[in-house]
Structures are given as structure tokens and as C-alpha cells.
């Protein structure tokens, strides 16, 4: 740590500073890397560990062996593909509805000037601030009244509460970044507003649209509380499925880590793919109002 204080004087002047000054920072960086990454590492480590090593009171930090037994156990402890299928259906449906409805709204607030526009924007922002947990009671009663309790369609409706405002806001960020001069040029050349959108804006928007969809999909896939509350055991989704490893007799940790790995790896990979694009989209709105 003492090396830190001596080096803080010239971090900006990297070109002049010798390589030595980086070493201290890199050491600190290594510490951050190990700490932040440890939970993920330990999940993978446990998942592939022989069961007896998983309950060693003095566990070895390095991998001790390699087995897929935990994964076999995880897949057998309760139906796995059913919940995964249901999660897929729900998440995909939510994303399709969210993106179609959300894109229309995003176009309205980013490409049109109209009375009440600002109110709509503030509304969309504010709506995202309502804690979902606070809504669980009325949503439960609403679905109960509509006969949608324990139905996947009910869960889809519910998920729109958080996917839709998010989609509108993010897509707006992407659309705002596409120069409207491009559209105007197309319209001067004889395109209608609709064809100008389809031929010019849409292709440019496509990457943002994909990123937003993937991100929305991840959010829907990861949701736990509503899935737990609004569906019965026989209709459980993938996140709720993870709860099956804890019973009255205790928790089967090694298979649970295998289950966690199964749940996390595809999602983290998807997330890694879209994260940069999303970071750009989420903050893009600031540059051009």
C-alpha cells in the first residue's frame, strides 16, 4: 500500500513514467480481479468437484478433480428442462411484445415533437423507479381476478411492467443517436416517412434492437419473485428451480453449484456479448437530446 502513495503523483503522465510505476497498480488490480472473481470461480470449482471434496472442512483452493456427477444429480433432482422451457417461453414472449410496442413508443418520443412529450418521457423514467416488490400484492390480486394466476400468460403480462419502460428508454437512446438528417435526405429523395424509417433508420437501429432484446431477455429470465409468487410448483421457472436444492434435510451444495453454473453460464455469455452495446445505448441519450 505504501507504494501507492508514492505513485499517485503521476498517474496521468503515463508516457513519461517508467514501467515500474504500473507494477504497484497492477498488483492492486490483481487483488480486485481475484476478489471480484472469486465467487464465480468458487461456483465453477465446486460444480466440477467430486462430492466428497465439496464437504471437506479444509477445502483446497485449487481444483481437486473433475467430475460431471454433480451436473447429473442437478438434472435429476427435479425436472430441469420443463422449467427451462417455461422460462424460455415467458422471456421470449415478453421480449417480442416489449420490443415491438416499445419501439413504436420510442420512435414517438425521439422523432416527433408533440404536446405532452416531456410528460411521457418523465413518466417512462419515473415508472422504472417503482420498486417491483411493492407491486406484488396488487399484481397478485389482479391476476387472481383475471384468472391468470398460475398461467405463463399472467407472468408475461407482469414482466411487461419492467421490460417495457426499460425497452422504450433504451431504444430511445439508440434512435436519438441516429442522425435525423439521414431520414430527411431519404424523404427529400421521395421516400415516405415510413419507408424512410424502414430503409434508413431500421438497419442502423438493428444492432441496438438486438442488444436491447437480449438484455430484456436476460432480465426476464433472471426474475425470481414474481415467478415464485404467481406460479405454482408444477409451473415453476428456471430461477425458482434452483430452490429445489434446499430441503428440510439441508442443502446439496455441490449439485446446487452445478445447477447454478447451468443457469449462469448462458446468461453471462449473452451478457458479455451485449454489454458494451448496452452501455453505449444507455448513456447515448445524453449526447444528443
Amino acid at each position: 500500500m505504501s507504494s501507492m502513495t508514492t505513485m499517485t503523483t503521476g498517474p496521468g503522465t503515463t508516457s513519461v513514467k517508467p514501467r515500474k510505476s504500473k507494477a504497484g497498480w497492477n498488483l492492486l488490480g490483481l487483488f480486485v480481479f481475484l476478489t471480484a472473481g472469486f465467487p464465480v470461480y468458487w461456483m465453477l470449482n465446486t460444480a466440477f468437484k467430486p462430492a466428497k471434496d465439496a464437504i471437506d472442512p479444509d477445502p483446497s483452493l485449487l481444483p481437486t478433480g473433475f467430475t460431471l456427477a454433480n451436473f447429473r444429480r442437478a438434472l435429476n433432482i427435479a425436472d430441469f428442462w420443463g422449467p427451462v422451457g417455461r422460462s424460455l417461453i415467458v422471456s421470449l414472449t415478453v421480449v417480442v411484445i416489449g420490443v415491438v410496442v416499445g419501439m413504436l413508443a420510442a420512435l414517438a418520443i425521439s422523432r416527433f415533437a408533440f404536446r405532452g412529450r416531456k410528460v411521457v418521457i418523465v413518466g417512462i423514467l419515473a415508472v422504472q423507479m417503482v420498486p417491483l416488490v411493492a407491486m406484488i400484492i396488487p399484481v397478485f390480486l389482479l391476476l387472481n381476478d383475471l384468472g391468470q394466476y398460475d398461467r405463463l400468460s399472467g407472468l408475461v403480462i407482469t414482466y411487461l411492467t419492467f421490460i417495457l419502460p426499460f425497452t422504450v428508454w433504451t431504444l430511445r437512446g439508440f434512435i436519438v443517436n441516429i442522425p435525423k438528417e439521414l431520414e430527411e435526405a431519404a424523404m427529400v429523395d421521395g421516400c415516405s416517412r415510413t419507408t424512410a424509417f424502414l430503409r434508413v433508420v431500421f438497419p442502423l437501429l438493428a444492432p441496438g434492437l438486438v442488444a436491447t432484446s437480449v438484455y430484456g431477455f436476460i432480465q426476464a429470465w433472471n426474475e425470481y419473485l414474481y415467478a415464485l409468487m404467481l406460479l405454482s410448483q408444477k409451473n415453476q421457472t428456471a430461477t425458482v428451480w434452483l430452490g429445489n436444492f434446499t430441503t428440510k434435510h439441508g442443502t446439496e451444495y455441490a449439485p446446487m453449484m452445478a445447477g447454478s453454473t447451468l443457469m449462469a453460464v448462458p446468461i453471462v455469455v449473452l451478457f458479455l456479448l451485449v454489454q458494451r452495446k448496452m452501455a453505449a445505448g444507455l448513456t447515448a441519450g445524453a449526447v444528443k437530446g
Binding site: 496521468g12 492492486l28 471480484a36 465467487p39 477445502p59 389482479l142
Partner: protein
């Protein structure tokens, strides 16, 4: 792709402070030309489906939340055996008169403040560190951060449960290696404060990446010349940070802090799953308390009253957030 580095709310505060202008400016309507009547309907037509869906799935439940909290609503009302009758402020009276509720409020605030402070401080330190490490180290850290950011909360919670397991958890095993520490068999969840500290660690671990990545984007916007000038004027590292970096990052910091407060006040699955679906009294936060009242005690009205009070408690924070968004011109 590179937009992540160049676009950010961290641009310099807008020179003209926007007090919202009455006619919407800054859109594609060229000044002085008003859209014809028919065209004025287009945006609303585009918005209609979105507004309709939100009114159904969000507006209606919000209204219902308010009305519920002024009614008597238990099992028999749920199944329709009895009509829900209005009871005025009874639910609020009961909730506010209960000392347990106030314990929960204090615990929630302490918990959320702890989470936010640790998240922001750690996030800032790591963001600053990322500017100073070598490129390959930055890539490594970024990958780890994004991976932990992308971890489903439920998975992260189960992993932390395993890390802190009393008998076979790695944390107890590692801590016991320190001289004079014997923690094997120690149950972190036997006491509320210790258990909540573990949950706080989990929340912070999951929240830091977003803060780091947003702040890093902001840091690239800090003009190098300003830092140089400050340094030439004799400012130390702290001085440069305090008087150059911090003021420029302030809008982002305010935004991140308010967002974190909102998120950390809404922490639910972490506590719920850690305590196997039945958080003990010592672990109750406003969210789980409201849930418990509704679904364990079957008093939906009181649960709603608690949820409503939570939302009211948050309104102030949301107002700060919205003001900040308006200020940086995000909402235009």
C-alpha cells in the same frame, strides 16, 4: 462499439441551465413550423399501445395498492366470501403504531445506506484504479466485473450462501487460517446484523460493476488538460481528484447514488433466498416485511400499506434522480 467510451452523461454540465421550456424544443420540429393537425396524432398513435399496456399492468395495480391500503382485505376478501370494506387509516394506524415496523424501517435504512456507501466508494476506487493499471489488467478486471454483473441474482445468492456455509464454506475455512481466528462451524446467519452484513456484501458485489463501468466512461470525459493544469498549480493527487475530477463527475455520481438507493431499498430475493423463504424477525427489511404481512399473515391490506409507505419513503430520492436527469439534459 467505441461509443461506450465516448458517450456518457458525464459531459460537462450544460451551459444553459434548462428550466423546462414550454414548447418542446430540441426535437426534429424545425423552429417556427408547427406540425399540421393530422401529423400531431401520429406520435400518440405510436404511443398508444405502450400507454395502454402500462396502464393495465402498472397503473391499475398502483391504484389498487393505494385503495387496498385503506381497506380490510384478508383471506375471506381474497376468495370473495366478504366484500372489501373501507377502514380509513386503520391499516396505517396499526402499522405506524407497531414498534416492529419502526425497527424494520431503521434496519432497512441502515442496510441501504451501508450498501450504497460501500458500492459507491468501492466503485469509485476501482474506476480510478482501472485508469492506472496496464491494458491487459484492465481487460481482465473488466471481464470479471461484467461476469459478476451478469450473474443472475438468484445464482449469486446461492453461491454466497455456499461461500458462507457454516461447516464447509470456504470463507470460514480461509478466515480460520488467520492466527487466532477459529470460525469453522460459525453460523453467520445466527445473528441478524452478521447475516445482513453478508447479504450487504452480496448486494455490493453485484452492484459495483455497474458503478465502475459507468464511472469509467465518465472518467474518460475528464479533460486531461484540466488535470495537468491543476497539477502544475501544485495540486496533489487528492487535490486533482477533489477539485477537478469530482466536480465533473458529480452529475453521474448523483445519478448513480440515487439509483443505488432505489435499488438497495428494494432488495428482496437476496434476503428471501438466504433465509430459505422465511426471513427471521431480525432479517426483515421493508420489502420482506410487507411480503410477510400479505402472504404469510394473509393481511393483504396491511402489506399494501407497508409497501405504500416504502414507495412514499423513496419518492424523495426519486425526485432527486429525476431532477438530475433533467439537469444533465438526458430528458429532453
Amino acid at each position: 462499439m467505441s461509443a461506450a467510451d465516448t458517450t456518457t452523461p458525464a459531459k460537462l454540465p450544460p451551459p444553459a441551465r434548462h428550466t423546462p421550456p414550454t414548447p418542446p424544443t430540441g426535437t426534429d420540429a424545425r423552429p417556427g413550423r408547427r406540425p399540421p393537425k393530422a401529423a400531431a396524432a401520429i406520435p400518440w398513435a405510436l404511443l398508444a399501445p405502450c400507454v395502454l399496456v402500462l396502464a393495465l399492468v402498472l397503473g391499475y395495480p398502483l391504484v389498487r395498492l393505494v385503495t387496498l391500503s385503506f381497506q380490510k382485505f384478508g383471506q375471506s376478501q381474497l376468495w370473495g366470501f366478504q366484500p372489501a370494506e373501507s377502514v380509513g387509516f386503520d391499516n396505517f394506524g396499526k402499522v405506524l403504531g407497531d414498534s416492529e415496523f419502526w425497527d424494520v424501517v431503521v434496519r432497512t435504512i441502515v442496510f441501504a445506506v451501508g450498501c450504497v456507501v460501500f458500492t459507491m466508494v468501492a466503485g469509485m476506487l476501482i474506476a480510478l484504479l482501472l485508469q492506472r493499471v496496464s491494458g491487459w489488467m484492465r481487460t481482465l478486471i473488466n471481464i470479471v466485473l461484467v461476469a459478476s454483473w451478469g450473474m443472475p441474482i438468484i445464482v449469486a445468492t446461492t453461491v454466497f450462501k455456499w461461500l458462507f456455509d457454516s461447516d464447509y464454506g470456504i470463507v470460514n475455512a480461509l478466515l480460520s487460517k488467520l492466527p487466532g481466528v477459529e470460525l469453522i462451524g460459525h453460523n453467520w446467519f445466527a445473528s441478524g446484523p452478521q447475516g445482513l452484513a453478508v447479504i450487504m456484501l452480496l448486494v455490493v458485489w453485484g452492484a459495483v460493476p455497474f458503478v465502475v463501468i459507468t464511472l469509467s466512461a465518465g472518467l474518460t470525459q475528464v479533460p486531461k488538460e484540466l488535470e495537468e493544469a491543476a497539477r502544475l498549480d501544485g495540486a496533489g493527487a487528492w487535490g486533482v481528484f477533489r477539485f477537478v475530477t469530482l466536480p465533473i463527475l458529480k452529475p453521474i455520481i448523483v445519478m448513480l447514488t440515487t439509483l443505488s438507493v432505489i435499488w438497495d431499498m428494494g432488495v428482496f430475493p437476496q434476503v428471501f433466498v438466504m433465509r430459505n423463504g422465511h426471513p427471521e424477525a431480525e432479517f426483515q427489511l421493508l420489502t420482506t416485511y410487507s411480503y410477510d404481512r400479505a402472504f404469510a399473515v394473509n393481511d393483504y391490506a396491511q402489506g399494501s400499506a407497508i409497501a405504500l409507505l416504502t414507495v412514499v419513503l423513496l419518492l424523495g430520492v426519486v425526485a432527486v434522480y429525476m431532477r438530475q436527469m433533467l439537469k444533465i439534459g438526458e430528458v429532453e
